[in-house]
Symmetry: C2
Subunit: 105 residues, 2 copies
């Protein structure tokens, strides 16, 4: 099975490159041994206005799971919540330390 891949699609006109990069770096540092790559994908102008979507392809079939969609989930993800959703797909046994404890409060 190829290493999991994450794609972050961001709205260019909204100037969300910087926050897409921040999420990418957080995921790459937390899952540096688990992820094959994290891709930043600029959404075509005028086609997907306001899009901010994070997809994980972790299974053999290659069908991506949308772990965050700004329009569905409301705004931008809390980083701990995002890491839990990614962890559940790419490394279910992995402990996230703080991020897990804050979820159990």
């Amino acid at each position: 099975m190829p290493a999991p891949r994450i794609v972050i699609t961001y709205c260019v006109r909204c100037r969300w490159l910087l926050r897409a990069q921040w999420y990418a770096a957080e995921l790459l540092q937390t899952f540096e041994s688990e992820l094959g790559e994290v891709a930043l994908r600029p959404a075509a102008k005028d086609v997907e206005a306001g899009v901010f979507r994070i997809q994980v392809s972790a299974s053999d079939d290659g069908v991506p799971t949308t772990v965050w969609n700004r329009k569905r989930d409301g705004g931008f993800p809390d980083i701990a919540e995002l890491k839990r959703r990614v962890r559940d797909l790419v490394a279910p046994e992995m402990s996230l330390g703080h991020a897990d404890r804050s979820a159990n409060r």
Copy 2:
């Protein structure tokens, strides 16, 4: 033809994520309408020590062209030179302004 894709492979142990991100952002901002995505790929520990490689897949056959390889090219790319190499593959007619003028000096 799918939009061109760039992959930046970086050595994790060398802590080159931050500079990989910077190159990714420069390329995404300059070629925001030309690129499909830019992916950051952490090199497996102990397998590719010291790797910093930038590859562009722009053709139908999907075979990537290595536009920069730290070990081949010596160190890290000047950003203007990198943009020229990427431009030549993904948007040969595009002017890079300053970056082109500095090459003609």
